[in-house]
Point group: C2
Chain length 141, copies 2
DNA sequence: CTCCTAAATAGTATCTATTATCAATTGCTA
DNA sequence: TAGCAATTGATAATAGATACTATTTAGGAG
């Protein structure tokens, strides 16, 4: 948590109460949160904080790599503290993002892409489906 | 092209002039088009067609698997005729989506995910960066 | 071929997620 | 602690997509 604040300073950004609170909320969650969810939690701590501020700071935090943004195919983007490079199994039922310990951008695929002359900037791998708990509930008839 | 129309009938949907034109436009393009681009081309052929119709039908076509939808991280979704399961190298410079002949959801990763008990519904793999032509132009100083 | 009905359409209003604007406030550096 | 750029809150504006509704139409039954 203090490390995260230092990270902000290190990039030349100010440490504001709003940013503290947003980081606090993120650090207390174990899953990806939508901006709405983050905003609600933030307002429970300090009601005056504007959604605009939440959006602004999530973008900023994502840009400097403190948080990672997850774009589900439908609905709003979701954010969580960046815990290193990772990919997820996203459950369509409960919204949980289960970390996948492996990265597809390794081994053969990486080689193929590099050999094609494409300069890789970033990559995105995401699996959607249903986690074990949600499987029975959401199975089609 | 006729095959695509049959596909529509086979699913119980009617063959309308609008759908013909949308499919024609898609079949004449070799890259992913945004709804706006598709709409423009469609209107060149038949000006009276509504954007709502374009949206509606692209959704429909995507649902029955005739077209595939590509969600770039920024900007609107893009569509093209479905040419089998595929992933892309998306160029941040020129926006072209270069097809990647390989799929990460094969071999070991697939095994790992299935063994975790997660029921896979779909997956998404996308690499962003710069294609060869754009590399010199966009390289940071 | 003509009639009928459900499906599809045009045009527009509406919605959702996000960004822009701008005056007022506030960290931080000197 | 003074000053100024960065940040904020409130809200308007935007982009992309969907919902709505009256009207039209595709395509099967007769």
């Amino acid at each position: 948590m203090t490390g995260l604040l230092n990270e902000l300073s290190a990039h030349g950004y100010k440490i504001t109460p709003q940013r503290r609170i947003i980081l606090q909320v993120l650090s207390e969650s174990c899953r990806h949160l939508s901006v709405e969810e983050i905003g609600d939690k933030v307002k429970q701590i300090e009601p005056g904080i504007s959604v605009a501020t939440v959006y602004r700071n999530l973008n900023l935090l994502a840009e400097i790599g403190i948080v990672s943004r997850l774009d589900l195919h439908e609905g709003p983007a979701r954010y969580e503290l960046n815990q290193g490079h990772d990919h997820h199994l996203v459950c369509l039922g409960c919204g949980h993002a289960i970390k996948l310990g492996v990265c597809p951008m390794q081994g053969e695929i990486k080689k193929i892409i590099e050999e094609s002359g494409f300069e890789v900037n970033s990559h995105h791998f995401e699996v959607t489906g249903y986690c074990q708990e949600c499987q029975t509930r959401h199975r089609k008839p």
